[in-house]
């Protein structure tokens, strides 16, 4: 690193801090927060709808606003996850696990503040990472081929079992169920439809948001309705709005770890913010000395994934800006927005359009600052939302969810599917099965299959390839180590039991 980074950032801030760019950045993050809070209505639909508006703007202003919507949505998604157990964005699914439990304990304010601070810190660090390392990091993305992805997924799946608290058997069963659900849709290799039963809506598989909203949101509402007389009124026991000294002490390390894990996974075109939040949660649960509190309202369980998904959202701009490769649908739209403005996204953007490249990076930091300034004072307002009686709150949540799911592909079929998954989720609540491992299996299953088969096609059927590539081999060894750690106590316990019986 040399001094050019400072002159580059100065150039960037010069662009980002012009009044017009500040205004559109604000509009972007405000809109993003709003659609993030509303369950299901995602940044893809919003950005697509706003595209024609951007035609009249200068390219940099347009991109600043669109990027603002994207990371604003990551931010807003956590609010509804914490308050009403609804993942507003797919990447905030993990935040539901502990964030909602904190809200139930009267610590919604603390959870929201933690999410905001974690996201802001992660956003700052990730922005710096993008600024300093974008070109070399792009090379890392190139090193990830099918075999590397497959082995990374194996590690993720093994970690999924660790993610669950309670019965390992149930966790494994849920992962397997998730894998099976992930099989629905068109087979990438042959183009054959699997488990679609002649329904063309199932040809592209079951939507992740649909499943997550059903399993978390609808199931939560159904199981709450069951408690006729003893409904939870957790607003009465709001203890404190702000994190205490103890909270700060517990959250800074998870935020730091979440930030770095999130930044790393965000660079991978196949990874992104979603894997980042799952990964950070799993990691935290393993290393934290409060591991037993996870799933019961551990502040680490909010801090780490929130930091990770925001960092991941930020660094996923690296493959876009340096290689012209979109890592998700939002990035694909950004490429479209750039092309229509006459800018071909790719390696030459950085050298040919330095104002655009560095202006966008600087605007990310500005946008993150705006988000934290906007959101911290709003925490009190959001908490008030919890005092709304359930007879009004629940129907409105269901309506918003139905609108959100419908808007994914403008198809009523998805609403029906969400309801079915809601009922399934209710059954899981009754059986005390965790939906999180199912979701991870559901996400990773199809990706794993795709990459496994592609790697095997490329190696002409030779499985040794997973061990001869160093990155891939590293992930596989890590998975084996993790499995041994997982199994050891059980082995010991079994032995002891055998001894007692003997």
């Amino acid at each position: 690193m040399d001094m050019t980074i400072f002159s580059n950032l100065a150039l960037g801030f010069g662009v980002a801090l012009t009044p017009i760019n500040l205004l559109y950045c604000l509009i972007g993050v405000l809109l993003g927060t709003l659609i993030g809070v509303l369950p299901g209505i995602g940044p893809v639909a919003t950005i697509a709808m706003l595209l024609p508006v951007t035609f009249s703007l200068s390219p940099i202003t347009a991109l600043i606003m669109l990027a603002g919507i994207y990371y604003g949505a990551q931010y807003g998604g956590s609010t509804s996850a914490i308050l009403v157990n609804l993942p507003g964005e797919s990447s905030s699914v993990v935040t539901c696990l502990d964030g909602y439990q904190m809200a139930r304990q009267g610590r919604a304010g603390v959870a929201l503040a933690t999410a905001a601070m974690g996201s802001f810190f992660a956003g700052c660090v990730a922005t710096l990472i993008v600024a300093m390392f974008a070109p070399p990091l792009a090379e890392v993305a190139l090193k990830f081929g099918p075999s590397e992805y497959f082995s990374l997924m194996v590690l993720g799946l093994v970690a999924a079992v660790v993610l669950a608290h309670g019965s390992v058997l149930k966790a494994v069963a849920m992962v397997l169920l998730g894998l099976l659900l992930g099989l629905v849709g068109t087979d990438v290799n042959s183009g054959v439809l699997r488990f679609a039963f002649g329904i063309s809506e199932l040809a592209d598989g079951i939507g992740f948001v649909t499943v997550a909203m059903g399993l978390f949101g609808i199931a939560e509402i159904i199981s709450n309705l069951e408690l006729k007389d003893e409904r939870e009124v957790f607003t009465n026991k709001v203890t404190n709005m702000w994190p205490t000294k103890e909270d700060w002490k517990r959250m800074w390390k998870p935020i730091l770890r979440g930030t770095f894990l999130g930044s790393a996974l965000g660079i991978l075109p196949g990874g992104g913010a979603l894997l980042a939040s799952f990964g950070a949660y799993t990691l935290e649960k393993k290393v934290s000395k409060y591991g037993h509190e996870f799933g019961k309202g551990a502040i680490e369980g909010v801090a780490a994934p929130e930091a990770a998904n925001n960092a991941g959202a930020q660094t996923s701009f690296i493959p876009l800006l340096t290689l012209g490769i979109p890592s998700n649908a939002v990035m694909a739209l950004m490429i479209g927005a750039m092309m229509i403005q006459g800018i071909a996204p790719g390696p030459q953007v950085m050298t040919e359009k330095p104002q655009l490249f560095w202006g966008m990076i600087a605007s990310m930091w500005v946008g993150n600052l705006m988000l934290v300034v906007l959101n911290l004072p709003m925490i009190g307002l959001w908490i008030k939302l919890l005092t709304v009686p359930y007879r009004i709150l629940y129907p409105s949540i269901v309506v918003f969810m139905a609108i959100g799911v419908y808007s994914l592909s403008n198809n009523p079929f998805d609403v029906l599917l969400m309801m079915i998954f809601g009922l399934l989720g209710y059954i899981f609540v009754k059986l005390e099965c965790e939906p999180a491992p199912l979701l991870l299996g559901f996400i990773l299953g199809p990706l794993m299959e795709e990459n496994l088969r592609r790697a095997m096609l490329l190696s002409r059927g030779d499985p040794i390839v997973f061990f001869t590539k160093p990155i891939s081999a590293g992930f596989l060894i890590a998975s084996i180590v993790l499995l041994i750690i997982l199994l050891l106590p059980n082995i010991r316990k079994k032995r002891e039991e055998a001894f007692v019986e003997g």
Binding site: P52, V188, P319
Partner: protein
């Protein structure tokens, strides 16, 4: 007599109602959200809105490779208020690929105007020793079954172009399907794949930056974007001509006036310098197909071409 007058009056009124089209917002259904089809739909919608004086709303209905959107429009009333951004997949490839297609791409539609037509290019990893198509063929022949070509999906233009290439040159290469073309291009850059037939617009920046090497363009004529790049036809693959395209279509029952009005407005919009520039930025030169009749004829010929190609490729999901 009185009755006849009333009847005539009603007819005149009905015609008047048609002349008044559009009297309410028009919807343009787009099967592929978040990509160039979505973006160009919005560009065209904005122009139509100004020309027609009614809101033109883009509504995305993704799924099943465009079948859901095309089927939805095929079964919508032919009143000019539901338009489809139909594409090569929905109207030329799917009919050959999918045995139970719920709509007929010719009989269920009126084809209004071709909007975008983009050439594909044959690009190879920049370390591959082949510097032109002839050398690539020689390389493939010397290493049968050793070269890999990627594509955005089974049955995509990229896949079918590769199969046609194999058939015409008598070479054998392995097809590696992806879920989209972006990850395939990434694997091409890193050397895991050897060649791809990719859309010109998305590969142009990487060609210019030297990250991949272009060997030929798949159209019959050279493209203005890379005038020095030969066509496959010039390179010995006589008659090789493939493009990726999409355009506006309406349900079969839509009256002539509406079809003609839409066609006129879209063709006019495509000729305005502003829109032309935007379309050029996406790699599309103004299409030469300019009337509904010519568009229908074009789709018929494309459908016939891909019926043949799909058979050649052996891709046949049941």
């Amino acid at each position: 007599m009185k009755r006849l007058v009333v009847l005539l009056a009603m007819l005149v009124h009905a015609a008047g109602a048609n002349a008044q089209w559009p009297a309410k917002p028009v919807r343009l259904i787009c099967p592929y959200p978040g990509g160039p089809v979505d973006i160009s739909s919005r560009v065209i919608a904005q122009q139509l809105q100004e020309a027609l004086g009614q809101p033109v709303l883009v509504e995305t209905k993704p799924g099943a490779g465009g079948v859901i959107a095309a089927d939805y429009v095929a079964k919508s009333p032919g009143d000019g208020y539901t338009l489809l951004m139909g594409a090569i997949a929905t109207h030329a490839i799917n009919p050959a690929l999918m045995p139970n297609l719920p709509y007929d791409p010719i009989r269920d539609f009126r084809h209004v105007a071709l909007v975008v037509q983009v050439p594909n290019v044959l690009i190879v990893n920049s370390d591959l020793p082949a510097k032109n198509v002839g050398e690539l063929i020689a390389l493939a022949k010397s290493r049968p079954g050793k070269l890999d070509f990627g594509s955005g999906s089974t049955g995509s233009t990229g896949h079918l172009a590769g199969e046609l290439f194999k058939q015409m040159t008598g070479t054998y290469m392995v097809h590696i399907p992806y879920k989209a073309s972006a990850p395939a291009v990434l694997d091409l850059m890193s050397g895991r794949l050897h060649l791809i037939f990719d859309n010109l617009a998305s590969s142009l920046p990487n060609i210019k930056a030297g990250k991949v090497r272009a060997l030929a363009v798949t159209t019959a004529k050279r493209t203005n974007f890379l005038p020095q790049l030969p066509t496959l036809d010039e390179s010995g693959l006589k008659g090789f001509n493939m493009t990726t395209w999409w355009g506006v279509m309406v349900p079969a029952k839509t009256p002539n006036e509406v079809v003609n009005r839409l066609s006129t407005e879209i063709v006019r919009a495509l000729e305005t310098p502003d829109i032309r520039e935007r379309m050029l930025a996406m790699g599309s030169e103004t299409p030469s197909v300019r009337t509904p009749e010519a568009f229908s004829a074009f789709i018929e010929s494309e459908k016939a071409l891909y019926a043949k190609l799909v058979k050649v490729s052996g891709a046949k999901p049941d």
